[in-house]
Symmetry: C2
Subunit: 321 residues, 2 copies
């Protein structure tokens, strides 16, 4: 059932969604010029966090049911396995910066809510009201619709930016950032800040990260599962497809519907892979020859997985995130 | 390197630390009489949460650096994979009750901080000031010592109650609850509420849970790793020892010191297992013949793992948790 149009592209960075393209370009430049992995990943994520046009990450992120933007971010260093994360923070300009700094601590490296904000304040990290006029407007409109079912249409907006990188000497790391589900309950946490679910990096094996319905992704520790498959010798693209497939079947047997899960990964040689349960999941691969957008796809009838390089026509017609 | 004095004991429930014994007895009674798995697990955890003598869980839990008791709890249903958790909550009498209720939701099932407390309040769950006079006193004494290094002696108090159960028809589930590291930074989250790290349950394969230094446990998604080994056919005791061993070696290669990690697990036939990197880790197994305390042990020189049933002498000399 595993079919590929493309072989795994080679590169030094890979990221989720089209919205990550500009950030990945900046991060890749740092990696090519200075080989500074942490700086490259943080720069790439910040670029997405700071752009209000991307409504599921950072500034201009879509608010929770009470109109507040609550953010999650994490960073994992694949050399040390050091992991930092902030969970459910408000008014923090760059959650990824806090997560990155926390990843250097051996204890107290994952902080939630007010405690995380205290840390950020102590570290002198900049604050900002993360709600933009346009996000507020969209929130007010949604409120008016007064949809009552738990499975709101609004829940469709849940794209996480995930950036994986590999330095020339083979160090790996990843960073993720999200505002989570639009119109989520206050305090709701998805897979993104959970190690092994939203992200995992081990320079000995590879790195992986996930985006989509967090409550579904975490039930299979999807990122860890992919890295474990690479550790046991599976090529990166097969690892992505097989882990996603196994987990999706596991959920299907329990009667779950497909709410969308997508993954990216890179092995410790720089081979990149991706897979999705969506019709189309754009991702970006960067290396010494620059950045390139690819699309992972799953045939909803047959369950077959594909990767393709989109043409001009596709780029014109697809939405920008 | 895997040596056993005992074979895997059989049972329907298994739990961490001696402090869980009374709760497990109550839970086991419910399981034997009514075969109600969720009720049994919640009852067992609540018994530990409500007892102020156990200073690392619930009421009387040891406070964070600012003198506040912050609690984490999670529940996972191995039939549905439904997972609920509360992260960093204050003044909630029984965090496990909130986690259990949340595990029935398909979205917004993990809540942090104020948002979690809003949910608990909406559900009418009882509040309580979780700081006891004796915990406050210990906190004041600790403060006086003004220890400055990150690796405080205080960090030794980090026992999580984890309860795994199996119904007669083979449903599996687990629940965990903790106040986390004593003198932790405000908002610090350990492995306990993270699916796959602190706990994992899948009735198709088995369940596992972990206690110890959360920042170390989570780096190997230890509970998920154990369940995956059982899924691939490894007996429960070997799955515990092998997953812990592999992860510990991974940390050791990165220069980590052994800060203590212990695991319990049960396969989907009711065989129980446990392993630790400590000298001694007590755990309890319950079934139709009642409750029995066992001890897992690791020889610090050779790395060999043992299980033994403690004698009267051991029981008299060991600390009660």
């Amino acid at each position: 059932m595993i079919t590929k149009i493309l072989n795994s592209p080679m590169g030094q960075m890979i990221s989720t969604w089209r919205m990550s393209e500009e950030g990945l370009r900046l991060g890749n430049q740092i990696l090519q010029e200075k080989d500074e992995l942490g700086e490259a990943i943080v720069r790439a994520v910040k670029c997405v966090e700071d752009n209000p046009a991307y409504v599921s990450v950072g500034y201009g992120g879509l608010p929770n049911r009470e109109g507040q933007v609550e953010l999650d971010a994490a960073y994992m260093d694949g050399d040390t396995l050091g992991t930092g994360a902030v969970i459910s923070v408000k008014n923090l300009k760059n959650p990824i910066e806090a997560a990155y700094r926390l990843s250097k601590k051996k204890t107290n490296s994952i902080l939630a809510g007010d405690g995380a904000m205290k840390y950020a304040s102590y570290e002198g990290l900049p604050c900002r009201n993360m709600l933009t006029e346009s996000s507020r407007k969209r929130y007010e409109e949604e409120k008016k619709e007064q949809m009552k079912e738990e499975e709101r249409r609004a829940y469709e907006g849940h794209d996480t930016v995930c950036i994986i990188g590999r330095s020339r000497k083979g160090s790996m790391a990843c960073g993720v950032s999200t505002s989570g589900l639009y119109m989520k309950e206050p305090g709701r946490v998805g897979d993104s800040p959970f190690i092994g679910s939203g992200f995992y990096a081990d320079s000995e094996a590879g790195a992986a990260a996930a985006t989509g319905m967090g409550e579904d992704i975490m039930k299979g520790c999807l990122s860890f599962a992919i890295v474990e498959k690479m550790r046991s010798g599976l090529p990166v693209q097969e690892a992505c497809e097989k882990a996603l497939e196994e987990h999706w079947r596991r959920l299907e047997r329990r009667g779950y519907t497909n709410r969308g899960m997508s993954v990216i990964a890179m092995d410790n040689q720089g081979n990149a892979g991706a897979a999705t349960t969506l019709d189309e999941f754009p991702f970006v691969v960067a290396g010494k020859d620059g950045c390139r957008l690819y699309v992972a796809s799953m045939d909803q009838e047959t369950g077959e997985h594909f990767l393709f390089a989109p043409d001009e026509e596709w780029l014109k017609n697809s939405k920008s995130d």
